[in-house]
């Protein structure tokens, strides 16, 4: 509402000045094999009640800014899915190394 408005969370980018006038790249590409596999995994985990889409989003929003902008879309999903499964004790960080 004014100049002192708080900084939005990392994903909350509607209307941000930093993207003003930057053309939208008309990239029509569907997800690649990696993206489709992450996507399918997420759907299965949701279907089996192992995580909600809102948890996935919360995990994406928790990615540190520098990493957030260096990862591709489905890499952010994978990062979030991994953190959530570790948080829930389903997998251990050691076995993913």
């Amino acid at each position: 509402m004014s100049d002192v408005e708080p900084t939005p969370a990392i994903h909350d980018i509607g209307g941000l000045s930093r993207f003003r006038c930057t053309p939208v790249e008309h990239d029509e590409a569907p997800p690649d094999a990696f993206g489709k596999r992450v996507d399918a995994l997420r759907q299965i985990l949701a279907q089996k009640k192992m995580m909600t889409v809102d948890e996935l989003r919360r995990g994406i929003e928790a990615i540190p800014e520098e990493e957030y902008f260096s990862l591709t879309y489905y890499e952010r999903w994978l990062t979030s899915i991994t953190s959530l499964l570790i948080e829930k004790g389903v997998v251990t960080p050691e076995e993913l190394k």
Binding site: V24, D27, V91, E95
Partner: protein, 200 residues
């Protein structure tokens, strides 16, 4: 935005899937089946819904009242899918869909979202300078048309029911459906009659 995934990410995904498989939580068969069913969804479903709405007022009313029920009638399984809302364009009102917070998209009737829909630029600019974004698609709204940007923030997914273009009187449903592109269902473009056809 759509740079390829890094090799370490691909390796990481495979380790994660292996760990989940070892616990019996997922299987390659499930992954393949899920991907195949996701791959089957395409904007052709949304396009057929629109073409039918242009021809059949009762269907149009159903689609506007309950998009998911309409999609089910098209043979799409909406079980477990979010409710589908349909945004009706009029001669004085045009809709544009965006998700500024993530990338909510009516996948059941449009398939995977294209990369640009998920881009920071589209998500950020569509709410603030929507007419400039439309211009990048070569889309100019007729004078006097108000633009309504729908930020898809919660539990619904939204598709646009665009206006039927002039010059399509007497066309069949199939022929009309071919005019309805994915971009028109998101609202960045308007259905156009190809000039060669318009001259017929």
């Amino acid at each position: 935005m759509s740079a390829p995934a890094r090799p370490q990410s691909i390796a990481h995904l495979e380790r994660l899937i292996a760990a989940l498989t070892a616990r019996g939580l997922v299987s390659e068969a499930e992954l393949a089946a899920r991907q195949a069913s996701t791959d089957r969804a395409s904007p052709e479903v949304g396009a057929r819904m629109v073409a039918r709405a242009w021809l059949d007022p009762e269907w149009r009313a159903l689609m506007l009242r309950d998009g998911a029920a309409a999609a089910e009638q098209m043979g799409v399984s909406m079980a477990g899918a979010p409710p589908l809302g349909v945004l009706e364009d009029t001669p004085t009102l045009h809709h544009l869909v965006v998700c500024t917070l993530c990338s909510c998209y009516p996948r059941a009737v449009l398939g995977y979202p294209p990369s640009w829909y998920k881009s920071f630029e589209y998500r950020s600019r569509a709410v603030r300078e929507p007419r400039a974004v439309l211009a990048e698609w070569g889309t100019t709204l007729p004078p006097g048309t108000r633009l309504r940007v729908v930020d898809s923030t919660a539990d619904y997914r939204w598709m646009v029911l665009p206006l039927r273009p002039a010059g399509t009187e007497g066309w069949s449903e199939d022929r009309l459906a071919a005019l309805v592109t994915r971009d028109a269902l998101v609202g960045v473009a308007l259905p156009q009659v190809p000039t060669a056809l318009a001259a017929e």
